[in-house]
Symmetry: C2
Amino acid sequence: MKIKKLILILVLFTMMLFSHKNASAQDKKMVYRIARLTIDSAQLENYKALLKEGAETAVRVEPGVLSLYAVYEKEHPTHVTVFEIYANKEAYEAHIHSPHFLKYKNATKDMVKSLELVDVAPIALGAKPGAIK
Amino acid sequence: MKIKKLILILVLFTMMLFSHKNASAQDKKMVYRIARLTIDSAQLENYKALLKEGAETAVRVEPGVLSLYAVYEKEHPTHVTVFEIYANKEAYEAHIHSPHFLKYKNATKDMVKSLELVDVAPIALGAKPGAIK
């Protein structure tokens, strides 16, 4: 009976630690951004392939790149939106100096007709575990 | 030795099944959408609380609501963007008839000054497992 209680206390304590860590990380340090781009229609397929490669590499190899969701509008396929989440400002700085980002940036510089970077803050970030990847 | 081989084959077969399931689900059935809203500045805090409650409830209780990311622009806090992923069209239809969505919709109808719903398709959806929630 005593051991069971001890285990229960340990489990609750661990849960508290983790929930605290998540809350403080989400509220204080993470960087959230939306990038809105317009792409040259003649180079759209090439652009999408380069963006896909760059985004997937970043999430795979950079510990501080938490999420990159890139989509295009069905009615205006040259309108691209990227929703970006970084662990903190340092992770974002590391990302824009990474070889895969510089490769993407250089390869797509004549494809991007406009680029708007919008800093955002979260209202709700709901995702089922494992639902996307 | 024979049992080990059998286990290895079973594991590989299971991985094949799952990777196929993921690929087909992502490509063919999922519904991706961006909602862009402008909110009455006098009611912004109330609106954000209602959106947060509605979005978190939907992801928690509806099996087909995979992800709802809601953010506001730091420079224009009344500009809200929601990035939505549903398992399929039926899941989206179920969502907009759910009690929590109808509660949100009714409670916020005089707070929303403009609403644009944009159907999108994925280029890359990279997210670290467990990074957000």
